[in-house]
């Protein structure tokens, strides 16, 4: 299956290992991974800040780049959510609608179009799962406690299926980490307070590893963990799955 890897802007620059792990993992699962998709950003940072006009060029570039592909995979729930739910409205063309149709979050793609809801692999660690809110409540890739849903979802199933992996239960399984894009710098005090609480929940339950499908949550939580919980290993889901399936 031919898939394009879409690397979100901040992943390209600040967490290249997540992009590489996504690429390696998809190839290991038999995909023909193209790197020809070359739009840097879906436009979410500008759009969520309210500056829709400034999001238009990035979103249009993104939509135009999508035209050549039937499957685009992103190692980010938040960016995928933006592409699926907001980009078509910003771009206002068939290209936008096409982009929304063919773009998938990594775990969603592995479990859905690729048809492998579980992978053979081993990861003998206590792992806390942090599913980003846009993946959970935006893309519905995990249960929402507000809706009384069980945890579930493709990322949960992939993790639970790995040998040796213990999923650590959290007091507040779907509490937001406080990143929130511009919120992280517009409301730094609340943002960091939320991140600290999230990390406290994770470390108090003895997790050795925190894993997320959203590198933006990781960027924020790692920045806080480096001051308060330096022993916690933080991984993107692609990095964890790649390591577990070697």
């Amino acid at each position: 299956m031919r898939v394009a890897l879409a690397v979100p802007c901040y992943v390209d620059q600040l967490r290249p290992q997540a992009a590489r792990a996504t690429m390696v993992l998809l190839e290991r699962l038999g995909c023909d991974v193209s790197l020809a998709f070359d739009a840097p950003c879906c436009g979410q940072p500008m759009f969520n800040a309210g500056v829709v006009s400034a999001a238009r060029d990035a979103a249009s570039t993104w939509a135009a780049s999508s035209a050549a592909f039937d499957f685009i995979v992103m190692p980010s729930g938040s960016c995928t959510h933006h592409v699926r739910h907001h980009l078509p409205g910003i771009v206002g063309s068939d290209e936008g609608a096409h982009a929304a149709r063919v773009t998938f979050e990594l775990c969603e793609f592995i479990a859905g179009p690729l048809g492998t809801p579980q992978l053979a692999g081993r990861f003998p660690h206590r792992v806390a799962m942090h599913l980003g809110c846009h993946a959970r409540r935006g893309l519905r890739l995990g249960g929402s406690s507000e809706l009384h849903e069980p945890p579930g979802g493709p990322m949960h199933t992939l993790l639970a299926g790995l040998d040796g992996l213990t999923l650590v239960p959290l007091d507040r399984p779907d509490e937001c980490c406080g990143f929130g894009g511009s919120f992280a710098v517009g409301e730094p005090d609340v943002s960091v307070a939320m991140g600290r609480d999230r990390l406290t929940d994770i470390t108090a339950h003895g997790a050795e590893v925190m894993v997320s499908s959203d590198p933006s949550c990781l960027l924020h939580l790692e920045g806080i963990a480096r001051r308060g919980a330096p022993a916690l290993r933080t991984l993107h889901i692609a990095e964890l799955l790649e390591e577990a399936t070697r």
Partner: protein, 457 residues
């Protein structure tokens, strides 16, 4: 004028143990709500709740006139008020006409919205809020910090101290039972001597002309059943079509608000007692304008349950006063901008867009979508937070092509590595100043490494 949510939140968070206690208290409410709403038909109830409110809003004028006809036929006097000032003067007129000088008032966010208490007090009328939480904040000369739990930010020891000063309870007494008993005596006195009662309404029913009031303390009932005059102050969006609609509305209200199947007291008042008078004041105060705004209309469906406040990770960690508006939390953040976008410019941004408010809302208001819509209206109105317009316009240009982005990214990573951390993490930097490190900058971007390995041209 709102001094800005980020600054107020920072002040609130300075007392970290207190902020953690506030967060826990509200999370407790959220968990109670989760248990009480774990019903097989919960999602259907939400859908029915959204539908009955949407239906009522689509026939608002018609239903209000029907309500007026029914209520008038029941012996109730119905008044119409265009705005807060008109509402206040109607209420004062009724009180003065009846020679009433002492008012027992039960909880009503509408009268808070209209600033009724200070207005009546300035005219020599004594107003006692008879809801315990509201009485606490009234004695402290504060507004409510939560629409359902007005004194959620008060600790029991502090309430003990307040009651000691204002009611003469024993110094150091802080047991909830003793304080509640003292408050009960104090409030009974006010209720027995009041010559008018003011209540809000959780719903008014067009079909019957009835007013429905829900409380857990029975204070609204004591007030309206003992005073010779009862005035119900009601926002026009509270009208529902039929009494059957209450079968949905009352179930979703209490379960969402406090995690109870139903409130301790649910009172249906349709007519005055013999010899007494009953008035209903129907207040617009911006609601019709909101109805005309298709994008934001559903905010009128709000039944003031407070579930979105309890679940909101930002509200829990910033407190009600940080919103600078009579309605706090996520719902306040989409209601306040309609009143004055410039004054409340920080509120649409006081959210991570985590979506929890949308998922708890018992009438399915898409609060996250409206927060986003207010953000883009802020851009159009020139009321974005300071710097946003410039920064994001620039960022938009950088992110519009791979060439621009790659160059900027390369220099950015160099800056992260070469510029001394002490300067990069200075007070000026909001990323680091509250306790968060800057990302470690890799030497190569993903695309650079792919080029080096020959996978990209």
């Amino acid at each position: 004028m709102n001094g800005g949510h980020p600054e107020a939140a920072a002040t609130f968070l300075r007392d970290a143990p207190r902020a953690a206690w506030h967060d826990d208290s509200l999370w407790f409410m959220r968990e109670r709500r989760d248990r009480a709403t774990a019903l097989p038909e919960w999602e259907s109830l939400r859908t029915a709740g959204a539908a009955l409110k949407a239906h009522a809003m689509s026939r608002l004028g018609e239903l209000l006139e029907q309500f007026e006809r029914q209520a008038t036929a029941n012996g109730v006097t119905v008044h119409w008020a265009r705005d807060a000032a008109e509402h206040n003067s109607v209420v004062l007129g009724i009180l003065q006409g009846a020679g009433a000088t002492r008012v027992a008032k039960s909880k009503s966010m509408l009268t808070e919205e209209c600033g009724l208490n200070p207005f009546l007090e300035a005219s020599g009328i004594e107003v006692v809020d008879t809801d315990l939480g509201e009485r606490i904040v009234q004695l402290a000369h504060e507004p409510p910090s939560h629409i359902v739990i007005p004194a959620i930010h008060w600790k029991k020891e502090e309430i003990g101290e307040l009651f000691h000063r204002t009611m003469g309870t024993a110094k150091g007494e802080s047991s909830p039972d003793a304080l509640a008993a003292a408050a009960r005596h104090h409030l009974r006195d006010a209720l027995l001597h009041a010559n008018a009662a003011i209540t809000g309404a959780n719903a008014i029913v067009a079909e019957t002309g009835g007013v429905v009031v829900c409380t857990n303390e029975g204070n609204a009932d004591l007030g309206m059943h003992s005073a010779p005059v009862h005035i119900a102050c009601v926002g026009i969006e509270k009208v529902i079509a039929t009494r059957d609609d209450l079968g949905v509305l009352l179930r979703i209200l209490a379960r969402s608000a406090t995690g109870q199947p139903v409130t301790a007291y649910t009172t249906h008042v349709t007519s005055p007692r013999p010899g007494a008078a009953m008035h209903v004041v129907l207040v617009d105060n911006g609601r019709t304008a909101r109805l005309a705004d298709a994008e934001m209309r559903s905010a009128l469906h709000c039944i003031r349950c407070g579930a979105c406040l309890n679940t909101c990770p930002v509200y829990r960690r910033s407190g009600g006063y940080s919103y600078g508006h009579v309605i706090q939390g996520p719902i306040g953040a989409i209601l306040a901008p309609a009143v004055d976008l410039s004054a409340h410019r920080s509120l649409p941004f006081a959210s991570t867009l985590c979506g929890s408010c949308g998922d708890v809302c018992p009438v399915r208001i898409d609060i996250p979508a409206q927060l986003l819509a207010w953000r883009s209206r802020s851009a159009a109105a020139g009321t974005l937070p300071s710097g946003y317009a410039t920064i994001f316009a620039l960022l938009g240009r950088v992110l519009s092509s791979q060439g621009n982005f790659a160059r900027t990214g390369r220099w950015g990573r160099r800056a992260l590595r070469w510029i001394p951390a002490a300067w990069l993490s200075g007070r000026w930097n909001p990323w680091t100043r509250s306790g968060r490190e800057l990302p470690l900058a890799p030497t190569e971007s993903f695309r650079e490494s792919m080029r080096r390995e020959g996978r990209l041209p």
